[in-house]
């Protein structure tokens, strides 16, 4: 059987961050980690090609990169496709996910990758492919490759597969009916669980409920209180002072900034702009109040509806940003606001 591996520019031995714009290339044979993968797969599967692409290239030209790689793979014999391991590298993880997803769709072969649980690629893609639970850094290379290849061989040979947790990949939310060995009826199992619970012993539910990340509804604030309170402005529309002092990324942001508006009544052209790469910036560059409505807030302040506007507005970019990153940034911003006693905010998204 034949397999192909995807790597980024670093593990593909092209170079580091300065070469992250490297366009996709396909090499015959084994490059970098492909050798370890081949070793683990033994004679059963031959890795015939290695694909290499820069993390930034695929990050900012995802569609083009995916199309190029798919066209490179056309006509190649392939029974299984691997990507990574990506460890904790976020852009690499997202790249592995995008490529695996496209390969699965186009060629319908098993796709496997490996990432650390902190990698945003896990949340983005775990439902759609086998993502093995990998280490935080390349120190785990051997172990991570072993986990992927062991499972790939089982899969290709049609052996009996165990639940995700036992095989070592992130659960995909799929259910499967299995026969227990030895057979124990549901009634017996539930009583066992109940007894363990009563005795304060640990037990595993057979129906894990996915954790819901809902934020509770905040209680309302009286108009009277509001008229004495500062309200904060937050945006995912990428409004920043011209020059983008915090170098917030234009897509897949991991950073947010806060900017002093205590002496400002209007976000005028030439002083503020958007760095968001997901929409035409003309309108926002011409008048950033269309995204961060400071001028309208000042009017309400003058009229006494609000006590004031919090001295900083907060900004990041929402496009391509994972929910996990967004949640982290949201928590960090909320912490800043709470520290200064701010209880209300308006968030404008684009």
């Amino acid at each position: 059987m034949k397999g192909i591996l995807y790597l980024n520019q670093f593990f593909g031995q092209i170079g580091g961050e300065e070469l992250a714009d490297f366009k996709p290339e396909i090499r015959e044979g084994l490059v970098g980690p492909a050798m370890a993968l081949q070793q683990e797969l033994g004679d059963e599967v031959q890795i015939t090609h290695t694909i290499i692409c820069g993390d930034n290239f695929i990050g900012s030209n995802t569609e083009e990169a995916v199309e190029t790689i798919i066209s490179m793979l056309k006509g190649k014999e392939m029974d299984v496709f691997f990507a990574g391991p990506a460890f904790r590298a976020g852009r690499y993880g997202a790249a592995c996910g995008h490529i695996c997803k496209a390969v699965k769709k186009e060629f319908d072969v098993p796709v496997l990758t490996s990432m650390n649980d902190e990698n945003p690629g896990v949340e983005m893609f775990k439902k759609e492919m086998y993502i093995f639970k990998g280490g935080a850094s390349a120190a785990a290379m051997k172990k991570d490759i072993k986990a992927m290849s062991k499972f790939a061989l089982k899969l290709l040979k049609g052996e009996k597969l165990l639940p995700a947790a036992e095989e070592g990949y992130f659960g995909r939310g799929m259910r499967d009916q299995i026969w227990l060995d030895p057979p124990v009826t549901a009634a017996d199992r539930v009583i066992d669980m109940l007894l363990k619970k009563i005795n304060g012993e640990p037990f595993d539910t057979e129906l894990p409920i996915p954790k819901s990340d809902r934020v509770a509804i905040a209680p309302s604030i009286t108009p009277e209180d509001l008229s004495h309170m500062e309200v904060a402005l937050i945006t995912s529309g990428g409004i920043v002072p011209v020059g983008n002092p915090d170098r917030i990324q234009s897509a897949s942001a991991t950073k947010w900034g806060k900017y002093d508006i205590s002496q400002t009544d209007d976000l005028v052209k030439g002083e503020y702009m958007t760095i968001h790469a997901g929409f035409d910036p003309a309108a926002a560059n011409n008048d950033s109040d269309v995204i961060v409505p400071l001028d309208a807030m000042r009017r309400y302040q003058k009229e006494g509806k609000i006590g004031g506007v919090y001295k900083y507005f907060f900004s990041t970019v929402g496009t391509g940003t994972t929910q996990a990153e967004a949640a982290r940034m949201g928590k960090e911003i909320a912490r800043e606001l709470k520290k200064d006693g701010i209880r209300a905010a308006i968030l404008t998204s684009t």
Binding site: P223, V231, D295
Partner: protein, 65 residues
């Protein structure tokens, strides 16, 4: 305040006020500066009123302009 209300709902926003577009949520550049401000002032006002409104479940607040 969001243009893509279904997305905002999915990610769990509780008080929602619609905006008019992605690139210019609060002011259509094809209209005059005064009209843009009027729209922005109105919708921000709806958002401020939303803060003072008790809700039991996620709610989309209605705008007039």
């Amino acid at each position: 305040m969001a243009n893509l209300i279904p997305v905002a709902k999915t990610v769990g926003v509780n008080r929602l006020v619609p905006t008019i577009s992605i690139p210019y949520p609060l002011g259509d550049p094809a209209t005059s500066k005064e009209e843009q401000f009027k729209l922005r002032y109105h919708r921000v006002g709806v958002a401020l009123d939303a803060i003072t409104t008790d809700i039991k479940e996620p709610q989309l607040f209605k705008v007039k302009i």
